[in-house]
C-alpha cells in the first residue's frame, strides 16, 4: 500500500478561487526577482485588484524584508487553514512567519516538503492575482513549483548581462517545452531594451524594461518608499501590461 501526499489536492482547493497565478522566476539569483514580484503585487493592489503575494523561496525568503514585515509580530490568522495577513493591500504569505528569519538550511526533499506544506495550508480565499516569488534557478524546487500551481503564467526576470541572458534562454526554452504561458521582463537595464528578440524567439510576451535604480536599496522595508522609487515607476507599466494580458 503506497502512501499518498494529500497536500497537492489541498493546494488545488486553496487556489481554486484565484483567477491568475503568476510565478516570478529567474534562471539565476541577483536579478531582482523578489523586488519585481513585490512591486508587481503592490501595483496590482493599488490598481484595485485583489492580490496575494507568496514567497516560496523557502530557504532564503526575503519578500518580507522588502515589505518591512517582522515575522515575529505579524502572523497569519488560523481560519480554515492559515489566512495571510494584509500588507499594503496585499495578502502576504511567507515561510518566514514560521522560521522567524533564522537560517533555514533545508536540503533535498525538505525544500519540496516545505513548499507543499505552505501551499496546502494557506487559505487565499478569492483573489484576482497571486504573485509567487519562486526559488531562483532551474533546479527541481523551482520547476516543481510550476506543477503545484494551477495554470501558472510565468513572469521571467532577467538582466541584460550576458550571463543572465544565457540563463533566461534556458528558462524560456523549458517553459516553451512545457507549454507554460510566459512573459519576460528586463531588469536593471542600463541601455535600451536588449532582450526583446529573445522573448520573440521563445514566444514569450515582452513586458518591458526596468531601469537600474540604485535608490531602491534605501527604500527596502517600506512599501510606500518602494512605490516612490524609479524602479516602481517602470514596474507600474509592466504591472499594467501584465493585468491586461491576464484579462484582469
Amino acid at each position: 500500500m503506497g502512501s499518498i501526499d494529500p497536500r497537492l489536492a489541498g493546494a488545488r482547493l486553496m487556489l481554486s478561487r484565484v483567477k491568475a497565478v503568476v510565478p516570478v522566476m529567474s534562471a539565476k539569483g541577483g536579478v531582482g526577482k523578489t523586488l519585481v514580484a513585490v512591486l508587481t503585487a503592490l501595483h496590482a493592489a493599488r490598481m484595485g485588484r485583489r492580490v496575494g503575494l507568496l514567497d516560496l523561496d523557502v530557504t532564503s525568503p526575503s519578500a518580507h524584508i522588502a515589505l518591512g514585515v517582522d515575522p515575529r509580530r505579524l502572523q497569519p490568522e488560523e481560519r480554515d487553514g492559515v489566512v495571510p495577513p494584509e500588507v499594503a493591500g496585499v495578502r502576504f504569505m511567507t515561510v518566514a512567519f514560521y522560521t522567524w528569519d533564522k537560517p533555514t538550511p533545508l536540503r533535498g526533499h525538505a525544500v519540496d516538503d516545505a513548499i507543499r506544506e505552505v501551499l496546502a495550508v494557506t487559505n487565499w480565499g478569492e483573489l484576482d492575482l497571486l504573485v509567487v516569488d519562486t526559488p531562483p534557478g532551474l533546479r527541481d524546487e523551482a520547476l516543481d513549483t510550476l506543477e503545484y500551481l494551477p495554470g501558472p503564467r510565468v513572469l521571467a526576470v532577467a538582466t541584460p548581462s550576458r550571463l543572465a541572458r544565457v540563463g533566461v534562454e534556458r528558462l524560456l526554452a523549458i517553459l516553451e517545452e512545457q507549454g507554460v504561458d510566459r512573459y519576460l521582463v528586463e531588469n536593471m537595464a542600463t541601455g535600451p531594451g536588449s532582450l526583446e528578440e529573445l522573448a520573440e524567439r521563445y514566444k514569450a510576451r515582452y513586458l518591458g524594461r526596468i531601469r537600474y535604480d540604485p535608490g531602491v536599496e534605501d527604500a527596502l522595508g517600506s512599501p510606500e518608499k518602494l512605490l516612490a522609487t524609479e524602479m516602481a515607476r517602470d514596474t507600474e507599466q509592466i504591472a499594467r501590461k501584465l493585468l491586461e494580458q491576464l484579462g484582469l
Partner: protein, 135 residues
C-alpha cells in the same frame, strides 16, 4: 483552524480515488508526531466525511513517531532528545520544516539531518483486491 486545511486535503484525495473508480477497502491516515496535529479534530471530521465518500472502507489512524538522522555523524534521534518551547512547537505545527531553524543534531550540533519519519500528515489507500487484479 489549520487542521481543517489538512482534513480537506485528505477528503479531496479520497474523493479523487473514488471518482477514478477505485473501491477502497482501507484508508489509513498517518499523523506525524513532528507536526502534532489535533488527532481528536482530525478523527471527528474524517469520521463523519469518509464513510459518506467511501462507504464500507475501514478507516485507521496511526501516529508516527518523529525520527531524525544526522548526515554528518550518522546518529538517529527522536523528539524526546531535543527541547522545544511552545512557540517553536507552534511554528513546527504549521510548517514542520521550521524544525531546521530551531533544532540541531543533539550529538554533533549539525543542522544537516533528515526527517526520516513522522514529519506530517499523509495518507494510504488500499483498494479491494478484485479491483486490483481487474486493473
Amino acid at each position: 483552524m489549520h487542521e481543517w486545511a489538512l482534513i480537506r486535503a485528505i477528503i479531496a484525495e479520497v474523493e479523487e480515488a473514488v471518482k477514478r473508480g477505485y473501491e477502497l477497502e482501507e484508508i489509513v491516515v498517518y499523523l506525524g508526531e513532528l507536526q502534532n496535529v489535533d488527532r481528536g479534530v482530525v478523527e471527528t471530521y474524517l469520521g463523519e466525511a469518509l464513510p459518506q465518500i467511501a462507504p464500507g472502507a475501514r478507516v485507521r489512524y496511526e501516529t508516527e513517531p518523529a525520527r531524525f538522522r544526522c548526515r554528518v555523524c550518522g546518529r538517529e534521534w527522536g523528539l524526546d532528545a531535543v527541547e522545544l518551547d511552545e512557540a517553536t512547537r507552534e511554528a513546527i505545527h504549521f510548517v514542520p520544516e521550521a524544525v531546521y531553524s530551531f533544532v540541531r543534531c543533539p550529538f554533533c550540533g549539525s543542522r544537516d539531518y533528515e526527517i526520516t519519519s513522522g514529519r506530517g500528515v499523509r495518507l494510504a489507500l488500499a483498494v479491494k483486491r478484485s479491483e486490483e487484479t481487474a486493473g
